[in-house]
Amino acid sequence: MSGTDNFEAVVQERRTEAVAEFHEDKTLIKRFQHALHTTPALVPMIVLIASIVLFGLLIGNRFFSAGTLTLILQQVQLVGIVAAAQTLVIMTAGIDLSVGAITVLCSVIMGQFAFRYGIPVPIAILCGLALGTALGTLNGWLVAVMKLPPFIVTLGTWQIILASNFLYSANETIRSQEIEAQAPLLQFFANTFKIGADENGRGGATFTYGVIFMILLVVVLAYALRQTAWGRHVYAVGDDPDAAQLSGVNVRGTLISVYALSGLICAFAGWALIGRIGSVSPTSGAELNIQSITAVVIGGISLFGGRGSIVGALFGALIVGVFSLGLRLLGADAQWTFFFIGVLIIVAVAVDQWIRKVAA
């Protein structure tokens, strides 16, 4: 043993190394790989474009028209809105199985408050939005304060809310014509504006307010997640809640705010649901939780939290929409649609995984 010399002195003087500047790789492929890595929404975007092109080639003009393409937007608006809520929750490494139930209950509340009790429509809508937020907050409280696993909490509240929905609504439908006559505000999201329609208002690109709301929502949430402290906290909580807590994030508050916001978004989805189907029906939206999770998953968002972007979820919803309509136009049976969406889920995730590995 050569002793106890002050070996550490050797490194003592070298304290001058500057921070090296970052220089980007300049080759195209490297840049592309880098972009894939830093922009998680890129993979689903590519898949989306590829599937549009694919169906465009297979089907031709009937698919590749402004009308059909905007129809897809209309068909995915609900899933898109709910998937945005789902993304927020999944970003915190949670999952919200109650989204569909909250959506339906809120639409029923808006309708019944206006029709059964004669409450002024704007107030009825506010009540619905408030209820959604409250239910979301309840989920958040159970997750953040009682520290129960999100899957279990929302499995429970899903059943509770859905049962309440049927018990409260007594399965009564409020008809579209009545709503149109007495409470048109409930159908607000059904309003449209058209681009390139003929003189009768037919054809061309049709955007409903619901579609515009979905896009605005995604833009606003993308901004909030990337550009505000709250967004950074959502990622941090999903990444490692203990670390986030120790490094000064109010984990409990962040979690509750995420679930509450998810509830609020679902309540808006409930409002948009009325616009979409015209009437208020307690049996709608049963599939929204699986559909929203599917969209999120195809959108490349990690179920383990902390990664992914809300735009990805929108692309995910659109991919499913393109496939569903595309397969219908090709004349496939409904069963085949389910089959292919199942395949799509697995392939999308496998491709995502593979690209990341190659690009790493």
Binding site: Q75, A170, S176, R202, F338
Partner: protein, 317 residues
């Protein structure tokens, strides 16, 4: 009648049709002093829950069961177990397979319901029926028997060769633009209509499995401004549906009578508990037909119908 208990088992308790059926049964049971327990599957096709419900009824010592079966063939064993245990089993709405598996059947003839709207649609179009463009908005991928009967009934009534009458979607007739599923609600109705419109924008006849699906389809047509020149036909006769006939949303609908089915069923059970008499089927049929009536405000020659005004008096919720 004191102490007599009866069970009502429906496919779901979310479909207004079954909700009304339950209300009818409850009202009659209260009138006759019978204790009624109601059960339902969670979703359409939830067969397991119905089996469990039958077992519960046997265990709870009821005198009879009214059941709207989700899987008409599969439920037969459980029904037999109940009959073996001395219960009267009456099939409501949907006949079992085989039909004599139940002690009696009080049902709508769903094929007849489809047939009526098919005939009405063909007659309304007149000569144009030869090059109609038809959208078929069915229930679900599982093709439960109501789905098949109404769909094939409609096609038969319209005069289209149904191929295998037990299978939806095997028809070759070019007038059919396509089949899509609706889950029997507005959302599914709208989506299916949009899909089929994308396949062929010239659709002018729309068959729908029920009135919520019809309402959804109407929204889709309205969105493309074609609501005025398309015939929508449907089945059920619920009050919102009849109202929709009055409002011109639906051209014609076949009304059925769940309240009556339930009330008749409860009466039969009460009778059976009192003196053991079994209910008798309708003349010439192997079940008690509670009837189906076409409702339309544009009656046609050769198809008997009532107006929406008359229908409203009979509608069920």
């Amino acid at each position: 009648q004191e102490g007599t208990a009866a069970c009502l088992i429906t496919k779901t308790d979310t479909n207004p049709f079954f909700v009304k059926m339950k209300e009818g049964a409850e009202a009659k049971a209260a009138e006759l002093g019978i204790t009624l327990s109601s059960y339902a599957g969670k979703v359409d096709g939830d067969h397991e829950s119905q089996v469990q419900a039958i077992e519960t009824c046997i265990a709870s010592g009821a005198s009879g069961i009214l059941i709207a079966a989700s899987d008409t063939a599969a439920i037969v064993d459980s029904v037999q177990a109940a009959r073996d245990a001395g219960l009267l089993v009456i099939a409501l709405d949907t006949p079992l397979d085989p039909i004599d598996a139940a002690d009696a059947t009080f049902a709508t003839d769903n094929f007849q319901a489809g047939l009526l709207i098919g005939q009405w649609a063909a007659a309304t179009l007149g000569d144009a029926a030869a090059d109609a463009r038809i959208a078929m908005l069915d229930l679900s991928v599982a093709q439960p028997s109501v789905d098949v009967l109404r769909d094939q009934g409609f096609l038969t009534g319209f005069g289209i060769d149904t191929g295998d009458v037990n299978v939806i979607g095997d028809e070759e007739d070019p007038r059919i633009v396509g089949n899509d599923i609706t889950s029997g609600n507005e959302e599914g109705g709208r989506r299916a209509m949009e899909n089929l419109l994308a396949v062929n924008p010239d659709i002018n006849v729309v068959y729908t499995i029920n009135e919520p699906a019809a309402a959804g389809a109407y929204e889709a047509l309205k969105a493309v401004g074609r609501e005025a020149d398309v015939l929508i036909v449907s089945v059920d006769g619920g009050c919102p549906g009849v109202q929709n006939v009055a409002d011109g949303v639906i051209g014609a609908t076949s009304q059925q009578y769940p309240l009556q089915m339930a009330a008749l069923g409860i009466e039969a059970i009460a009778q059976y508990a009192a003196d053991g008499t079994l209910p008798q089927p309708t003349e010439g049929k192997d079940f008690f037909d509670t009837g189906v009536t076409l409702i339309t405000d544009a009656p046609v020659e050769g198809v008997e119908s009532i107006t929406s005004e008359e229908g409203k008096a009979l509608c069920w919720g």
